[in-house]
Amino acid sequence: MRIEEAVANNRRKGFELKVGKEVLFFPYARLRVQPSAQNRVEEVRPDPELGYEGFTYSLEDGSEDTVHVDAVLEYNQDPDYMRELLLHNLTVEVRKQLEESELSRREVIRRLGTSPSQFYRLIDEANRTKSFGQLFDLLHILGCEVEVKVGGRGFRSGTRRTRRKAVGG
């Protein structure tokens, strides 16, 4: 996700970043190198070295730092970003369960009723086009139960394995 424009807003004590069609806020309080009344933001720009997926700012004293767009999306609880994170965490869990499972990969693929390429696509953490349903199917085959909890902000929503069932070979 590209940052189109970055502006420092000293009154709001943060940066305003145009990401896609949205303008997202990122507070100075979240920065490693923080500006102050005596050391203000001198320049801020989307960074081409990061493929415009981040911005770099510099302060009056010459110090500078870079922030990746993911930090901005996480601060703003961007739904797409949060979904991606959850999908990644679930895939990591699937891989752990696969390592622990006594079932061979061939058997898992057979039970899943899919092709090997589809299976490897499912367990590829970098693949973002899979669905939660497919991962739940896979966890079920691996003998796991998945419990989904939904709560308000501050509640860590997610999926977790509650118990492992015995699975026949």
């Binding site: 493929g51 997926e53 993911d70 991606e84 990644h88 990591v92 953490e125 970098a126 973002r128």
Partner: protein, 33 residues
Amino acid sequence: MVKWDLENGLAMKGKATRRIKALIEELEAEGEL
């Protein structure tokens, strides 16, 4: 570009080449990550 999951040591986006993995290991050993 590679997005790296430091906690699990896995790529979240893109593919990490051997060279990139070596760089990450180096940075971790130096305590930079």
